[in-house]
Amino acid sequence: MDTIVPESAQDLCDAVADALRERTRLEIRGGGSKAAIGAPRDARIVSMAALTGVVDYDPAELVLTVRAGTPLAEVEALVAGEQQMLAFEPFDHGPLFGAPAGAATIGGVVAAGVAGSRRVTAGSARDHLLGFTAVSGRGETFVAGARVVKNVTGYDLPKLMAGSWGRIGAMTELTLKVLPRPRMAVTLAIEGLDCRAAHAAMARALGSHADVSAAAHVPQGPDRARAITLFRLAGFPPSVEARATVLPVLLADHGAVRRLDTAEAEALWHSAGTGAGLTGAVLWRLHLPPAAAPGAVAALEPLGARWSLDWGGGLVWLALDDETPAAAAQVRAAAMAAGGEATLVRARASLRAVVPAQHPRAPLVAALEERVRRAFDPAGLFETGRFGG
């Protein structure tokens, strides 16, 4: 179907009004880096590509207001220039689908709730979206939240908007909390742990005074037999050095700890945080209570699953060659049994047509969620079929 490119919030309102009149469904699109997530669908694309640029950025206030279509890379470069960062460590999905990095937009990563390795300690997009301006499925512009870091005025609609995948409205402007970039980051590692031992070491580290900001586990090498467990320490140099001395002592029972050089560490974090290290036609994310990760992984290894852990085990990236719905059902069942959920990230279109990308919700929650979506989009304009419902 066609693509339209609004150049203002008013254009966007008009586009929604047109769609309501023409009974056409709309898919809100940032850079399209995640377009291959979800069921195949046929909807009019509303590209946010023309709504770009920084509206306000005062580093000392820790607040950035930016238009939704601004490329993620530009936003990250801007805040890096002030020694700051997006605390939730979003990443570009393009390479997971064989596309170059660079297309992802700030609106897209927030709407998809994309968070990297630091999420376990620093929170997700939902924790850092302070406010927004958006156009609803009624064709109305509305704002929610604010442009200050501390606010409880009215319902916290930014929480609903982050991770909504464009199903309750199209954000035109976002206000995000930014944080100082750590002056120093060091990665310590233990090699040779199995999944259970890796989880135990990560739980020990994350529950300690070492103030570990991220913990991941990456099987690698031939047959993925050589595993490495990663611990990130970030902050001011005297603190990082002190903690880099303490952590090996805390983890002495778990294995010998070595310090990685920066290039090796960055490659491993990229792999652990974005799933990029896993090959396979089908790619899943499992969000689990961390202690349940080893059991879920063990249940799925007979399917030939390759996997890595992030968030101390709270996130499992899992790749399969088996493209059948039956294998997908086993992944979902293992995630459920572990008390968590599985999201289908990458698969051929025919599998995505029959296996929903998002983990099915309990019936009462699904019904409540649908009522909330209708509160913003009474006509179901944004219900393209991408996520069922």
């Binding site: 009149r21 009974r23 469904r25 005062d58 000392a60 020694q83 709730g113 968070a115 999420r119 929170g123 939902r126 509305f142 929610a144 604010a146 442009r147 200050v148 501390k150 606010n151 409880v152 005025t153 009215g154 609609l157 929480k159 609903l160 982050a162 100082p180 970039r181 739980a203 994350l206 529950g207 300690s208 005074h209 103030d211 902050g235 001011f236 005297p238 903690r243 969000h287 689990l288 209570p289 202690a291 709270g314 996130l315 968590g340 983990h359 919700r361 009462l364 409540l368 969620e369 649908e370 009522r371 909330v372 209708r374 509160a375 913003f376 009474p378 006509a379 179901g380 304009l381 219900e383």
Partner: protein, 513 residues
């Protein structure tokens, strides 16, 4: 959040709450005895209170200016009872006001004359603690501090620390999205809650979130937190617990004026430091606090900063010196770094006593709670001084300086005719000023009834209607905590109306409500 003044504002209790609230439903009031009997069938024994004297303790929350005994109080003990009470009230068209510990400073738990007050105080159990996954599962009546007490032996704590934490319940914290002095670094309640069990007004029981991060689907948990008891009743909460920082140090800094203190705060953050706490007091507050607790605050300064860092000792030692250096560069005239826990606690003693201390220099005070962009602080303080002169009422300022959350305390005497009205008008002007400079009406106390009628200062009618449509998705009959947060009550059918073109409803196959 701050604790309310211990002593009730005397004349304020004569305020006519009825003008604030929808007219009581006379048909419901006429059925009071029958309603009590029906609820006793659900919550037997002493779980239903209808004796007028016994209702008295529930007539207000931390916003003591407003008092209204409820029609009845119900104190359920199980989620099944909560569900049955709500289902019955939903079917019978009876309004319900949920209540935790009743410490809200914005009137979030203020009863209605024709509503059942649903007290959650009997939900007091810690259900599970998992140190591996660093979560605790607790019932909503557990106090904020009790969560920390349940896990501190193992070196953990629950981070949000509203100053009412000894009394306020976690269920109330969820409803209000409570903060505390450490929230710049550790976040508000919303950043520390992973899941809830929630009973909707029609009695349905749903679980939102859980022990995993970022569940699929709309973040309904995120909109429950801070919804001020309007969307559902929380019956279980899963929170993150954190390793208790190894050490903490504080520095007490005096500045000639708030401008230089503000510049210091900005530079601390610009240099990449996020302190665990950063509190500012103005001259009036400093003098009141020092006279009360006598901890050695400098009295010859125009602004005082208490900056605290926590974490590994090496980090604290390094950062506290850095902060002292930055303070010096910004004109600090006093600088004392804590050398032991005793001294650190002494620095805080004055700040923590600031509210009762102000209570000693003025017969009554009214605590405000706006947030501003920090860069606008000098202008806001200047205009507040002008307002103070215009209204003829003093004001003392304490300020969560790191995140721009102001707590002006307006000094008045309720025994003097007209002073209460002037204090409220002054307070409203301060909040309008906060919004005008790019801030908000409330940083942590909530809207409740207190700021309800100021909501249009910050939000357009379209913005407010969109929020109310979310309310309609949870409680279409508007029975749960009505009259709070929103200045105008719209019926859900009216809010749901769409412009239909040429008689055609788009996508007729979709369900609607």
């Amino acid at each position: 959040m701050e604790m309310a003044a211990a002593r009730p504002a005397r004349l304020m209790r004569e305020r006519d709450v009825s003008i604030l609230m929808p007219d009581p439903d006379q048909a419901v009031l006429a059925r009071r005895a029958g309603i009590a009997a029906a609820l006793r069938a659900i919550v037997p024994g002493e779980g239903v209170i209808d004796d007028p004297d016994a209702l008295r303790p529930y007539e207000s929350d931390g916003l003591t200016a407003y008092r209204q005994p409820p029609m009845l109080v119900v104190l359920p003990e199980t989620v099944e009872q909560v569900s049955a009470v709500l289902r019955w009230c939903h079917a019978e068209g009876v309004k319900v006001v949920p209540r935790g510990s009743g410490t809200s400073l914005s009137g979030g738990a203020l009863p209605l004359a024709d509503a059942v007050l649903l007290g959650m105080g009997k939900f007091k159990r810690v259900l599970a603690i998992d140190y591996d996954d660093r979560v605790a599962v607790v019932q909503p009546g557990v106090t904020n501090l009790a969560i920390t007490q349940a896990v501190e032996a193992r070196g953990f704590y629950y981070a949000p620390d509203p100053s009412s934490q000894i009394a306020c319940s976690i269920g109330g914290n969820v409803a209000e999205n409570s903060g505390g002095v450490h929230c710049l670094k550790y976040g508000l309640t919303t950043n520390n809650v992973l899941g809830v069990e929630l009973v909707l007004m029609d009695g349905e029981i749903v679980r939102l979130g859980g022990r995993q991060l970022d569940p699929c689907g709309l973040d309904l948990l995120g909109v429950i937190v801070g919804s001020e008891g309007l969307l559902g009743v929380v019956t279980e909460v899963t929170v993150r617990i954190l390793p208790k920082p190894e050490s903490a140090r504080a520095v007490l800094l005096g500045f000639p004026d708030p401008e230089s203190a503000g510049a210091c705060v900005a530079q601390v953050i610009a240099e990449g430091i996020i302190p665990a706490g950063m509190e500012m007091m103005d001259r009036t507050a400093i003098h009141a606090a020092e006279a009360f607790v006598n901890v050695g605050y400098p009295l010859d300064v125009g602004a005082l900063l208490i900056v605290e860092v926590d974490g590994p000792a090496a980090e604290c030692d390094y950062l506290i010196e850095e902060i002292a250096r930055i303070a010096g560069a910004n004109g600090a005239v006093t600088s004392r770094i804590s050398t032991d826990e005793h001294e650190r606690m002494a620095f805080w003693a004055g700040r923590k006593a600031a509210f009762p201390a102000v209570g000693r220099i003025s017969p009554d005070y009214y605590c405000m709670d706006g947030t501003i962009p920090r860069r606008r602080l000098p202008e806001v303080l200047r205009r507040m001084e002008q307002l103070s002169a215009d209204y003829g009422l003093g004001v003392a300022n304490v300020f969560h300086a790191g995140d721009g959350n102001l707590h002006p305390l307006i000094l008045y005497d309720a025994n003097k005719p007209g002073e209460l009205d002037r204090a409220e008008a002054f307070g409203n002007d301060i909040l309008r000023l906060c919004v005008e400079v790019g801030g908000v009406l409330t940083g942590e106390h909530g809207v409740g009834i207190e700021k309800r009628d100021l909501m249009p200062v910050m939000f357009s009618e379209a913005d407010l209607q969109q929020q109310q449509r979310v309310k309609c998705a949870f409680d279409p009959k508007l029975l749960l905590n009505p009259g709070k947060v929103f200045p105008t009550l719209h019926r859900c059918a009216e809010l749901g109306r769409m412009h239909v073109h040429a008689g055609q409803v788009p996508f007729p196959e979709l369900p609607r409500f």
